[in-house]
Symmetry: C2
Subunit: 205 residues, 2 copies
């Protein structure tokens, strides 16, 4: 089995492979484009038997196909966004514009003033329709963009309705008792904090 | 010198340390909370001479202080958001609510209908004021949340005005010729793709 930490890096490699448009790529170039060291790249790819030729690198086409197969992207994954506020709407629009493998197949909200609004290719539906949307559109992923106090209840409904992965933006640690459901917490302020170091070390006097 | 990949993980350790509120923490617990393996945690912390006691772990207070010092967070880093649309506004509000070390000290836009709007503790100012905002408020970081076609020009102005770090959300690879400026590209669709694996492997039949 491929370790989870390797799986988490694969989309960045895939994104780099689709950007370069060349036939072959070295682990140095793949590392440079995706933000990892060339040793890390070689180690990760070796897990699924992808070995480059010294000095020539990997076949970019084959590698991308292999990563898509491992990430099961060829099935196409469908997601629902819960909370059609600023962040939720920005995400639906952005995902619609970027050609990715995750398709947002529904967006719901509790505010009557927001329900019925058109966002990209979707219309905002009421939260009450969440379970039937997940069942009828074969949705496997939930994306939570509601205020923190509503996040746990939304999470419970998503798990109950059978989603297998949750991307949570609300600043609230979610409790999930089902080991088959994977929850990923996102906090963009962490990204800012990581960058703070690069500001500090050359701080203008 | 501490490797950049280690620096990038420190905010997640710091976030975990502030969440737990205990006196001591083991590398296993720190890894569990921050999403890294306990070996990775031990290796990272050893770079700056933090060694835990076998079975007892690390002093959580001292460790948090040490990480803040390394990340230069005690100086407090100030950022400006360019593009007060849905994503930019959501970020300003969220950063204002979450106690973090990066302070958003300004937000600018080009749309007259948006300029003057109140967002959290700030009022949206015109893009033309960008350079004087950066100089007068000692801003070291720029956050780009404009549409892709405007991103490179905004980036050039930020670099020219002296910022040292840029967080870019626009789906456009930025070109920066100044080696002292660090650019971090953010793509939330990559997070969705990484999660797709966890949906696929237990896909409902
Ligand atoms: N993790 C990050 O880095 C990050 C960045 C920005 C915002 N956020 C967070 O994302 C969340 C949304 O931010 P925003 O700026 O879009 O807020 P917003 O107020 O613009 O949008 C919230 C939306 O959720 C809806 N809602 C509330 N409770 C609901 C429920 N139980 N079910 C369905 N819909 C519900 C509201 O009607 C509203 O439309 C907040 O929790 C915020 O802190 C996180
Ligand atoms: N990286 C990600 O994961 C992610 C997620 C969501 C959105 N996005 C991207 O973020 C960007 C913003 O998305 P949004 O939904 O907030 O869009 P939006 O249209 O709601 O907001 C864009 C704002 O930028 C302003 N603007 C345009 N050109 C400008 C310039 N040159 N200088 C200053 N302000 C300018 C507009 O007036 C508007 O207020 C888009 O490029 C989108 O693709 C990225």
């Amino acid at each position: 089995r491929i370790p989870e930490t390797t799986i988490r890096r694969l989309p960045a490699y895939l994104r780099a492979l689709t950007l370069i448009g060349q036939d072959r790529i070295t682990s140095e170039a793949l590392g440079q484009l995706s933000g990892y060291s060339s040793e890390q790249v070689r180690k990760d790819l070796a897990y699924f038997g992808a070995f480059g030729t010294r000095g020539v690198g990997y076949d970019a086409q084959l590698l991308a196909q292999e990563i898509r197969r491992i990430l099961q992207l060829d099935h196409g994954v469908r997601a629902v966004v819960v909370g059609a506020g600023r962040l939720g709407t920005a995400l639906v629009r952005h995902t619609g514009e970027t050609s990715g493998d995750v398709v947002i197949a529904g967006v719901v909200d509790i505010d009557p003033a927001v329900i019925g609004r058109q966002v990209d290719h979707l219309r905002v539906e009421p939260l009450d329709a969440l379970e039937s949307i997940i069942r009828e559109r074969n949705i496997g992923m939930g994306i939570i963009t509601v205020p923190p106090q509503g996040a746990q209840a939304v999470c419970d409904r998503l798990v109950q309705a059978g989603v297998k992965a949750i991307l949570n933006f609300a600043p609230r640690a979610l409790v999930v008792n089902n080991p088959e459901v994977f929850v990923q917490q996102i906090d963009l302020t962490l990204e800012m904090q990581a960058l703070a170091y690069f500001v500090g070390s050359t701080e203008r006097t």
